[in-house]
């Protein structure tokens, strides 16, 4: 009897959880679906769920009008470049703080992390002055550097929390066996650090990919990534639903795929490591 009640309760709870899930996912799902309809079908009454003629013409039109590939390529370069540059600068710093801590390590970390909390508008104006001065406006290299600097505290912090999980005993054992600093880093630390570094790369790639504040403010046409692409479609006049949907599906597709693999890293990063 008790068992029957539990089963029933479980079914209700599962149904409720899925109902909420569908509600949350509906805008994304509907956008993707609409992108494959013709304009007439997109505003059909009643709304069409599956029984329509799937078409790719919206994608062709959007690509033709606004050169999606260039935005995509800019996004890849900017997000990838700033992530790699950031990792190069941050790995040594995180290594130093995790394995050779000094009295000030905690304070330095705290201080670095606190900057991630600050509103970016506070430094926007001086940065844009510098960009004008050095002709960096609307260049990919400028954005790579700015996004690297913006995300550096979070990269250092994430790497630090991952490195801290590496048992120190192993390092001490390696030192006892006479390993030099170079050997210690190369043969003992690196293999154990790679999963953490990979997770940090993934997290930071998504953060940089989604970054809109700096990309919108510092680019115009040449270096604009997908966030600018989607923003350029944000006034509905002149375009129709199906094409708008195709444009936004193209903008979010890479994130939908990456997001599936990386939710753990995302939560960990956004809570500054509080949730592992």
């Amino acid at each position: 009897m008790a068992r029957a009640i539990t089963t029933q309760r479980k079914v209700i709870i599962t149904a409720a959880a899925w109902a909420v899930g569908l509600l949350i996912f509906f805008p994304i799902y509907w956008t993707i679906l609409t992108s494959f309809k013709t304009e007439a079908q997109a505003i059909n009454d009643p709304p069409l769920f599956f029984n329509f003629d799937w078409t790719l013409e919206n994608y062709a039109i959007v690509q033709e009008r606004s050169n999606y590939m260039r935005y995509l390529w800019n996004s890849v370069i900017i997000a990838g470049g700033s992530t790699l540059l950031g990792i190069l600068v941050a790995v040594p710093a995180a290594w130093s703080m995790a394995f050779v801590p000094s009295k000030r390590t905690k304070d330095i970390l705290l201080w670095m992390l606190s900057t991630k909390m600050l509103p970016a508008v506070g430094v926007l104006y001086p940065i844009s002055l510098i960009f004008v001065e050095f002709n960096l406006l609307d260049t990919r290299i400028g954005l790579v550097v700015v996004l690297m600097l913006i995300n550096l505290p979070i990269i250092v912090w994430m790497l630090y929390t991952y490195f801290r999980e590496i048992p120190v005993d192993i390092l001490e054992a390696a030192r006892m066996d006479g390993a030099s600093l170079r050997e210690e880093i190369l043969y003992v630390l690196t293999p154990m650090a790679i999963p953490g570094i990979a997770s940090t790369i993934l997290l930071n790639f998504i953060l940089a990919w989604n970054e809109a504040f700096w990309t919108l403010n510092l680019t115009a046409a040449q270096a604009a990534p997908l966030t600018a692409f989607i923003a350029s479609y944000s006034s509905p006049e002149g375009l129709f639903f199906a094409k708008l949907s195709a444009a936004s599906t193209m903008a979010i597709a890479p994130i939908l795929i990456l997001g599936w693999f990386s939710q753990k890293q995302l939560v960990r990063g956004l809570t500054f490591g509080a949730v592992k």
Binding site: I24, S102, G122, N210, L256
Partner: protein, 290 residues
């Protein structure tokens, strides 16, 4: 030489990150602080004049609206997202079989850029295109849902979109908290015949106080930094009805040519963030020491 290098490597490799953050963040904040004390308009000036920019700022009705909006938006967003997140986490905590897939779905909005969220909700809430038009086509001709273009209601559309974006993430936080509660205590309570809802209200939720604090801090700093979302969703409008401090600062710096106002509003925002965040970070780090 080699020995010196080996001893000082840790400091040397830390230096680039340290300097980058120092110059990039604090150097520029110092610049902003300096300019906020001058009469800068279209171009920055460097003669200190005192607090005139702050006086102008607090006399400005637009800044008043921005601060009010921040409070309305911040409080509603934080409270609703936390309640929703907690409910979703409790739902998922009931050992349902498809938990993994559901968690991913709940979290998806968080992986999207604020720009995407803002743009999507702009279409959904657009009276002529989205929800209102759809319900009217279904035959309810009188149905009106014009929050997006109604100056009194527009700020609530920002709340709506922000909650959609973040509640799954709050859920993930709370779920981790629920899972960290000692299972033995819960079992003991169940053996004693205490109903499930009492177990939650009396045992589990009180023991999650630190998670509530973390969620609050993360949401609060998201709220203060919400710039992209407002820009994509309402552009601060209609008029300046949905201005937040961040969009105010942006408008002053780039469309109104009033650097002094931009700098002083940025400084106020930073002070607010600091008073919320720094005590939290300190307590986090100190507690991890033990």
């Amino acid at each position: 030489m080699t020995k010196w290098l080996e001893e000082n490597t840790p400091k040397l490799v830390l230096a680039p990150s340290f300097l980058a953050v120092l110059v990039f963040v604090y150097g520029f904040i110092a610049w902003t602080a300096w300019v906020s004390l001058t009469r800068s308009r279209l171009l920055p000036k460097y003669e200190i004049e005192g607090f005139i920019q702050y006086e102008r700022l607090f006399a400005s009705p637009r800044w008043d609206t921005a601060i009010n909006n921040l409070f309305v938006f911040g409080i509603l967003f934080i409270v609703i997202a936390m309640v929703l997140g907690l409910v979703l986490a409790i739902l998922l905590d009931q050992n349902i079989r498809t938990e993994g897939a559901l968690r991913t779905i709940y979290l998806y909005p968080m992986a999207l850029s604020m720009i995407v969220t803002g743009t999507a909700w702009k279409w959904i809430l657009n009276p002529g295109l989205g929800l209102e038009a759809m319900v009217r086509r279904w035959g309810f001709e009188e149905f009106t849902f014009d929050w997006l273009v109604n100056p009194d209601m527009a700020i609530y559309t920002v709340v709506l979109a922000a909650i959609w974006q973040s509640s799954g993430f709050v859920m993930a936080l709370f779920l981790a908290g629920l899972r960290s509660v000692d299972g033995e205590i819960i079992k003991a309570a169940q053996v004693d015949g205490i109903p499930t809802w009492r177990v939650y209200t009396a045992i589990i939720i009180p023991s999650m106080a630190p998670i509530f604090l973390s969620a609050f801090i993360v949401l609060a700093h998201l709220a203060i930094k919400s710039f992209d979302l407002v820009i994509a969703l309402t552009g601060g409008g209609p008029g300046y009805a949905t201005d937040l401090p961040a969009t105010y600062m942006y408008a002053m710096a780039f469309s109104r040519g009033d650097i002094g106002q931009a700098a002083s509003s940025a400084m106020i925002m930073m002070m607010v963030v600091f008073t919320i965040v720094v005590p939290y970070l300190y307590s986090e780090l100190r507690s991890k020491d033990d």
